[in-house]
Subunit: 392 residues, 2 copies
């Protein structure tokens, strides 16, 4: 996979939760980069999230040290000390200014970081820079994910070829608001801080903020984007034509990554897109789509290949949005099954449609012009199993 | 079981969803009764709910005809015609004024009522009055319920012994707001309409409105209470001492029935009470308790005997209520496991506590005087199985 100029990767085994896999990774830019970030809106924020929210005020950075196996959330003052120490260890090993290294963690909540196992590994991590690929980083940050999630895109701006790469992890406790579990985007584009912020915000709004696996918002959601300017284009400004090209590419990347997260939802067998059309407002459309996407009854019906559209109507009904039963239409993968709020006898055909791996449910409310799409997955016995046994 | 004077019951098989069980029932009062009701706040309401909401304006009634197997929801104009016909058939068979018979339905959404199978059964239903017990009615209204739910209480008022009996069904699509799936309360007390309304509202607020199985609010939630006055006490007025006694008994009944509903939640193996203490407000306490109770991650952890309190912290965090991590305490069945927002190394002992069939989780926020209790159950593979296969 093509990665942007000047970015190096590393991953080592620190046996944070248990031995047997690489679980500590490093993303490093050879030059100082402009950094934007978005963080969980959960009132309970993990220590590294609170640390990064401080660091990012500088708008600059050069490294991200990240671990799986432990979220460093609900760990009190010691947790913050540990996050700060991880940042300092990384900065020292890399010869960076303190404050130029960000920290991210994912995994079990409520357990102190095993610093005695992390401390001795940071110099090895720094020394190994360049020996690992972006896919190795993706693998190291996996928790219950079943596949690593990376993507790259190339665009032309100012006569230069710019590369943007993204890596993320997901799987459970996924109902982000402002960001998802962990996502890192790197680019060699030269871009102003305000433009980078804007591109990230647009991208996250229609991707990570529009997915849900289980309706549980994490304590650790973080998206960081680093732009090191190493291709030497003239700086991209917000509201320019170049900005549109750049922002579109970032949005494509976050959308593809968010699809991967949902596809790899814990226990999921199907990727489901819920689209609400012609709601009274965009806000209504989003609220209605999330109510359907988070309904356990809708999710289990999809798993069971049962086009039980009554559960969709019930979810729309309790979502609190404006709805007229007698105007509502529902489509499963292009097949109309509900018109004027009533079934039209196509449930058997719809059950067949549900056997595909990708399901698109469209609800047309015929009330206004509001629209929204939300990605989710089905709910299976395996989700229950994975989460009943997560800490054992 | 003792039932109130003047109430008769009946149940027959109409093979509404499939043959092999009684699925059509009748509750009849020999004298006209004062009737109060509370109904789902879901914007999509089943036809019988909309019909009963009209009928109850009279404040009077004498019969309830109720079926399982079909919810008569999302059935358009024909659905309303069918509900009206069911009421008329019952009124005619019983020699009642039209408008004195209420109709309730529960079961699959989106399928027209098989009126050709119901029509010929209504006179049999009326003729059989007195041959069935309240438990037979409870059995006839079950869907995925595994046991019938009934309760009776006796109180003394004005020197008379008053009996209050309740019957309900639950199991899935349970997150009521104003009422639960179906619940009928009968009493031989003589009580003014306004007092009956008030007693019901108080009772429902702390019982059916404080339970959740899957967070899915039904289209059919209905509670009806009938008071026929047949013991001949002088009428109970609101704000009297007699009212307190009566209201307490109704509250006890709805609380016990709501516990039965949660205990019999689809696939549930455990009854879980979530109590929030010392929240900033009662509203915060209720919101926080529901966020925990509806968290799939909390529910699966409880199923897996994993005292994963981090998921409780995360749910509190995203619920949006006021919280100070460093003040929060969590107890599992009386055992403190979190203090000042951090674990105190008692997770193994807490895992043992989780092996009991009844779990009490207390969260003390140490922020104010707000308090709330919500009942829920664990989330198991069987919930998924039941709901993946519900219509097959």
């Amino acid at each position: 996979m093509n990665t942007p100029k000047g970015f190096l990767f590393s991953a080592v085994e620190a046996a944070i939760k248990k031995p047997g896999r690489k679980d500590l990774a490093l993303i490093f830019s050879e030059g100082e980069a402009v950094v934007s970030g978005m963080f969980t809106k959960n009132n309970i924020k993990a220590a590294p999230v609170r640390l990064d929210m401080k660091l990012i005020k500088s708008g600059k950075g050069q490294a991200i040290i990240v671990n799986s196996g432990n979220a460093n959330a609900c760990t009190g003052k010691q947790g913050m000390k540990d996050a700060v120490e991880m940042a300092e260890l990384a900065a020292t090993a890399l010869g960076l200014k303190p404050n130029n290294a960000y920290v991210c963690s994912t995994g079990v909540i409520g357990t102190l970081m095993p610093m005695e196992r992390i401390r001795p590994k940071v110099s090895e991590l720094a020394n190994n820079l360049g020996k690992a690929s972006i896919d190795d980083v993706a693998a190291a940050i996996m928790t219950t994910d079943t596949f690593p999630k990376t993507i790259s895109k190339r665009i032309k701006i100012d006569g230069k070829t710019i590369t943007i790469s993204g890596v993320c992890k997901g799987a459970g406790m996924i109902c982000p608001d402002m960001a998802t579990m962990l996502c890192f985007i790197m680019t060699d584009a030269n871009i102003e801080k305000s433009a980078l912020n804007k591109a990230l915000k647009i991208a996250v709004q229609k991707s990570f903020n529009r997915i849900t696996i289980d309706g549980d918002m994490s304590t650790n959601d973080t998206v960081l984007v680093m732009a090191n300017g190493m291709v030497g284009n003239k700086p991209i400004k917000a509201n320019s034509k170049d900005f549109e090209v750049f922002a579109k590419a970032v949005s494509d990347i976050t959308y593809e990554l968010s699809r991967m997260i949902v596809k790899d939802g814990e226990g999921a067998t199907k990727l489901v897109e819920i689209e609400i059309r012609n709601a009274k407002s965009d806000k209504d459309a989003e609220k209605g789509a999330f109510a359907i996407a988070n309904s356990m009854l809708v999710k289990t019906a999809i798993y069971g290949n049962d086009a039980n559209w009554g559960r969709i109507m019930a979810a729309l009904g309790y979502s609190g949005i404006a709805i007229k039963e007698e105007k509502t239409e529902i489509f499963f993968n292009g097949l109309k099954i509900v018109t004027k709020g009533m079934g039209i006898g196509k449930d058997k055909e719809a059950n067949e449609k549900l056997k595909s791996k990708e399901i698109k449910i469209v609800v047309d409310l015929h009330l206004g012009k509001g629209t929204a799409k939300v990605l989710t997955c089905d709910l299976t016995e395996d989700y229950v199993k994975i989460n009943a046994e997560y800490r054992t």
